[in-house]
Symmetry: C2
Subunit: 304 residues, 2 copies
């Protein structure tokens, strides 16, 4: 089971339940990288995409021995067009080569046939001729949006089964106005709890040897009060928790997202790690590593 592989990697990295978010923008890239790349590629989209890749490789090199997971936010690659998608694919490959568990944060969802295409694109394989298939992106896991209901999610579940992969379903998001829709009271409970029940149900046939399912949930760190309830509804789901750091969530408040053994939750930090060098203009790799170790220390204090 894919979720067991993820847990194994967490344990290998000294029980560090942290994912580093590779959400780069050209503004974050140090000048020395830009200078080298611009000599070869000028200043078009290929320049931007190559800068992002060099930057990502540097971040990965700086943290791969201390964290088990990277989360790659697709929007920041789509922003640079087709060239950006090459960097997205190359980053997945580099992270996998370094032994990291790769979650692509794409939040896809659609009708059944289209969800199947998304699932095969990011986690499965693509048919080309009757006897040839290829792996388009080959991530370990992806985020999905639940709005279409079960038949928009079942194709992802099928691909998780077939290729041993996992998904994380958006349940309660970290942004300020998430309450407008996600907190609407439906049949006596907030909508996000209804979604949580679906997540629990969708995962019931995909439980691994660590008693976690391959169908996880995304829950923002900015809403710490919801963790206790959601933990009860989704006993066997891993929680992927963004929103610490730049978005204002605090690690101290999210102990309820974990189970007692320190499993069940991954904390993702993106900008607080990959932009750490911008505060003091220091080496970006050293700063990213320092911030990652600091976050790791803070998270582990929750269980000490």
């Amino acid at each position: 089971m894919s979720i067991d592989l993820m847990i194994e990697k967490i344990k290998e990295k000294n029980d560090t339940p942290i994912s580093v978010g590779l959400d780069p923008k050209i503004d974050y890239i140090p000048n020395d990288i830009k200078n080298i790349i611009s000599k070869k590629y000028g200043f078009g989209p290929k320049f931007a995409a190559k800068c992002l890749y060099e930057f990502n490789k540097g971040i990965i090199d700086a943290i791969y021995d201390i964290v088990p997971i990277v989360k790659i936010q697709s929007a920041y690659y789509e922003l640079y067009g087709s060239e950006g998608i090459f960097t997205f694919a190359d980053t997945i490959n580099y992270a996998k080569m370094k032994g990291l568990y790769v979650i692509v944060d794409v939040k896809r969802n659609d009708i059944e046939e289209t969800s199947e295409a998304y699932a095969n694109a990011y986690l499965g394989k693509t048919n080309i001729t009757y006897n040839s298939k290829f792996q388009a992106f080959g991530a370990d896991s992806m985020t999905v949006n639940p709005y279409f209901g079960s038949d928009g999610i079942v194709p992802f579940i099928n691909v998780c089964k077939k290729y041993s992969k996992s998904i994380f379903t958006i349940v309660k998001t970290s942004n300020k106005s998430s309450f407008e829709i996600q907190d609407l009271i439906c049949e006596g409970v907030p909508l996000y709890e209804k979604i949580a029940h679906f997540v629990s149900e969708w995962g019931k046939d995909l439980i691994g040897k660590n008693n976690y399912s391959n169908i996880g949930a995304v829950i923002g760190a900015t809403h710490p009060k919801v963790f206790k309830t959601l933990r009860k509804i989704m006993k066997k789901s891993y929680f992927l928790v963004p929103g610490c750091g730049a978005q204002g969530g605090s690690v101290k408040n999210i102990s309820d997202a974990f189970n007692e053994n320190g499993l069940g939750c991954i904390i993702n930090a993106s900008r607080s790690i990959i932009c750490a060098h911008m505060k003091n203009n220091e080496n970006y790799q050293n700063e990213a590593r320092r911030e990652t170790l600091k976050l790791s220390y803070d998270v582990k204090k929750l269980f000490s």
Copy 2:
């Protein structure tokens, strides 16, 4: 206003409120295209992507003089990896060159900063250096998912204002299990009606000279009973209606989606048009044109 441009194109094409969905898969491609492309590219992902592009060009050539709009479903390009995204971008460019209004069906949504990246990727421009920007995909319009609430949509609205573009928000989808979440009763009404009120609100500062807003709604043809209510809530929103044809919705049932003057709604058909040749092994361009004219005739009967 972008929505006025779309209406102008509908009127230019003999008041035809139809969008052709370019959702190609390698299985749909006629052998003569595959044979030519394989000689140059073999049978890898580049072969698949080039086949899709030739096929799309053929479809566009066959229908651009009789319809105003194409809708390009991103999943079927992501399925072929980075090479697929090149075809996605090339298809947008070719359709625009032929004067078509281009909706990219990407159903993106995320937290504010990330939605801004998506909005700039598909509709706006991307900063590369302090004095250079480029257009990553340059579509006229895109579909978005509402689950994050207003601050996940505002960046799209801002980009619509800045670059004169439009968006279509998912409200009620055509798939069978859409009821599971979208029909949950929230404060006395189904969730999709709540979303419809947001869509109406989001569009109120973006009303064009035809009295329609740049913020439209996606509503599946398979739920004809909802049109009357949603038309009342979203008086000034264009409806994008997929699900006729292959998905089982009927044109006859969707007259309530239109206003009395025949405006306010676009019907999208994908597989029924682009796969028409597979039933009888005829020329795919002729069959696509024939199916498009047939759909056009059926839609216009609604107002005769």
